[in-house]
Amino acid sequence: MGVENLLLGFQVAVTPFNLLVAVMGILLGTIIGVLPGLGGANGVAILLPVTFAMPPTSGIILLTSIYWGALFGGAITSVLFNIPGEPWSVATTFDGYPLARRGDGGQALTAAFTSSFVGALFSIVLITFFAPILAEVALRFGPPEFFAIQLLTFSSFVGLGGGNPLKTVVTIVIGFILASVGLDIVTGQLRLTFGFTGLMKGFDFIIAVIGLFGIGEILLSVEEGLTFRGAKVGVNLRVVLDTWKILPRFWRTFVRSAIIGFWMGFKPGGATPASFMSYAFAKRFSKNPGNFGKGELEGVVAPETAAHAAGVAAILPMITLGIPGSPTAAVMLGGLIIWGLQPGPLLFTEKPDFVWGLIASMYTGNIIGVLMVLTFVPFFAAILRIPFAILTPLIIVICAVGSYAVHSSMLDIWYMVLFGIIGYVFKKLDYPLAPLVLALVLGDLAESALRQSLIMSQGSLAIFFTRPICAAITLLAIFIFALPAITPWWRRMRGAPSAPVKPIATDS
């Protein structure tokens, strides 16, 4: 059954037009991943309007291809320039940059791309098998279960995200509040508009993504003055083949990292912790842990495999539950709604060609992606040699174009600037941005799930604890929410020193 569906998917994904779309997407995505200030999430957001004129399947293939490209692109800047383009490429710089400095940049990049590919493939195969099962389970979910899953989603930011849990709660709540601005579709009342007509249509999360991640990131990176000192690189067939001969030696690291990546990845904000975790594991199990940080190829393999596996896994909850695992997946979810598709378990029965086309395109997209980046590394690396005074205004103009295109509204460009400033301040003060974006996306869904649940129970919160599946999810969510409070207490009980949790950025 699954194989048949996948074959159907390949018939959709492997048409000349859709393959061309995938190639374009990966090209753009890699450029976006390499450029400072542009990453997967806002790259996808800016190019979302471009897909309005396409069939939905081609649209989602373009967006996912941009995502794969951005994941690959992040590795290029980490290895060659010691600049992690995305938070989950930070761990890649530890060994990637020393390798590049030593003149083995080609080897490091080949290893990074190959690991990305292996990690992605692992997750895609799991998605192929698990997505239909999860969708079938989700079909039986009612509003209370969906609200419980939302709680679980946000609990993992608070409990597992690191940093100050209160600040995470603050950004989540702000996201939900911003989502409720405008017309309340249930009662028809205007909320939080304070008489301003401009606020009536509310805040679009796509604008928030572009502002927070795009403009905010630029403001943050100019502080450093932005002069790129990159290592030269030559990737040719010889280097690639030689590296491929070495890589099978690390099969244990590949398997371990892919599992960590998938497990962490389908929960929000998982890619970054996954990459750090798998780096730490690789170092612990290595015969020569002393080499890590000085240019050990395994130190590139581990985080890249995990990050890419996690990045792909974030698609799973998006297509099965309608709940995105990362801001990038959230933007894609927004795309689905704009194309007139209802994200969630029903997609599998109502739009099989779309879902399976998407899953099949994940295979083709990653194969095309790894071949393209291996071939065109020097071209992509050259992008970072464009002078800063040209790149900065160019990126800001691109962000403005993307913001305007969503609703053809000038006000949205102003919101983008405002969100940019907020993003800059929040980043500096360690308020995580990803939970805000996710809350803004899921706000309406969460609120209507809560309202419907309360209507079902005549206003009693007990409904979240009396339905078995719902109770299990809610209790797990509460437990994870409480983790930051429990952990120090648990450590004291065991007599261990209460070490502060290392803050990990969760903007994936």
Partner: protein, 153 residues
Amino acid sequence: MRAADLITASILAIFGGLVIVDAMRLGVGWGMDGPKSGFFPFWLALILVGCCAVIMAQEARKATGRIFAEREKLRLVLKVLWPAVLAVTLMQWLGLYVASALYLGFYMRWVGRHSWAVVIPLSIGIPVFTFLVFEKWFYVPMPKGPLEAWLGY
């Protein structure tokens, strides 16, 4: 850093207060057929104000740590920010393409000190390329001004 944290938390708390006021206006209790419009924002804002209060208490006890941004860094940030704000203002009157051309040209010349031979082709070429991609290829309209009107778009 401490001052910046305190200011941010108080601004957010005030924002939460505003939300509470509006939620009270809408009603936060049980309506005819379920929770009223203000129900969800009210509880969210209450959590927001509570968290901000605790964050402020935490920060107030801390010694003054690292500073938010050094003067020099802040100057660099503003140097990016104000031309961008100006460009957005211009977009309202001149349209996105003309404003972008002026902005790109100004920034490249003023910050980058690039020669006119670089500045002019790029600052005209990029908006023209954007125009072709969005208006012609994907049919996504951008804000337009007098120049586009004169050209007949």
